[in-house]
């Protein structure tokens, strides 16, 4: 039981990173991300090898009544970036293909997601649709939107704080819509998010870039 919990937390931590930070680092940089929310736990580890591409590993342990474990290599691609004097807009694609496991049933799986975001030092907005195909175990569509505001403008060496609001839509799940107010702390290359969803789940996400 303890091992399962520990494993779940590890997976969750990894998964959390994905939806919270940009899926690309600087060239030669590595990023570890974990997400733990009502859908399960996700962990990813990505290495950025060109200004527009990162390659890594993605692990997801999905809950929601079905303990599905997914393990895939993944590629993250920056499709388009707008660098503005006071902001930045991006469109990313993240995709993976590998194996999904449900009880003793192993199936090939595929997933792809798009992330569109815009952020200035004060405001943040993002939208992410995600499509998952786990052979005959599960096929799902999931989408997430976020808005955020920084209550103060912090500099590079300061602690950055963001107040955010997230809406998840899972058509196949019991709670179709989950609203999660959250707080994001950002210090240099460390990011931590903590929120509480309308489905009474605690969300904890973190990202480390090195």
């Amino acid at each position: 039981m303890k091992t399962t919990t520990l494993l779940s937390l590890t997976f969750a931590t990894i998964l959390a990173l994905h939806a919270n930070a940009k899926p690309l680092s600087y060239v030669g940089g590595t990023m570890a991300m974990q997400e733990n929310d009502e859908t399960g736990h996700t962990l990813s580890l990505d290495y950025t090898f060109t200004p527009t591409e990162a390659f890594g590993v993605y692990v997801k342990q999905e809950r929601n009544g079905r303990d599905i474990l997914m393990l895939t290599p993944q590629i993250n691609t920056l499709l388009k970036r707008w660098n503005l004097p006071d902001g930045q807009g991006n469109i990313f694609n993240m995709s993976g293909a590998g194996l999904a496991r449900y009880h003793d049933n192993n199936q090939p799986c595929l997933w792809t997601a798009f992330l569109a975001d815009y952020e200035s030092r004060r405001y943040f907005i993002s939208y992410e649709p995600r499509f998952v195909w786990d052979g005959d175990i599960e096929k799902s569509v999931w989408q997430r939107a976020r808005v955020g505001i920084a209550p103060y403008l912090a500099n590079y060496n300061d602690l950055n704080t963001w107040l955010m609001f997230q809406i998840d839509h899972h058509p196949a799940k019991h709670d179709h819509f989950v609203a999660t107010p959250l707080i994001r702390f950002f210090y240099k290359t460390y990011l931590l998010e903590v929120g509480y969803g309308s489905d009474n789940h605690i969300m904890v996400n973190w990202t480390v870039q090195f």
Binding site: P85, E119, T189, Q209
Partner: protein, 94 residues
């Protein structure tokens, strides 16, 4: 007197070429600490660079070169673009 003047001229020439240069450039799209880290680390990899300072408020990156070294505008643009951003105005001081 003539020798002293000559020595001074030679010394001035030598020390001039050994000066470090500080270059300031604005960077469009640099809005968060992750962005700033990428730019800082990519500049630090350049053999000519001694120190890099980033100011998110002014979107300014300040690069100090090693003594006697410099970075061309083209090289700075290349590094900023390689980091995923676009370069604004460059100001140099010695």
């Amino acid at each position: 007197m003539r020798h002293k003047l000559l020595t001074l001229v030679i010394l001035a020439g030598l020390s001039g070429s050994a000066f470090a240069e500080t270059i300031h450039t604005t960077v469009n799209g640099m809005v968060c600490a992750f962005c700033a880290t990428g730019i800082e680390k990519t500049f630090r990899k350049q053999p000519e660079v001694a120190t890099v300072k980033v100011d998110l408020q002014t979107k300014l990156v300040s690069i100090t070169t090693k003594p006697g070294k410099t970075l061309s505008d083209e090289k700075i643009k290349e590094v900023v673009t390689y980091s995923g951003y676009t370069m604004g105005k460059i100001v140099r001081e010695k």
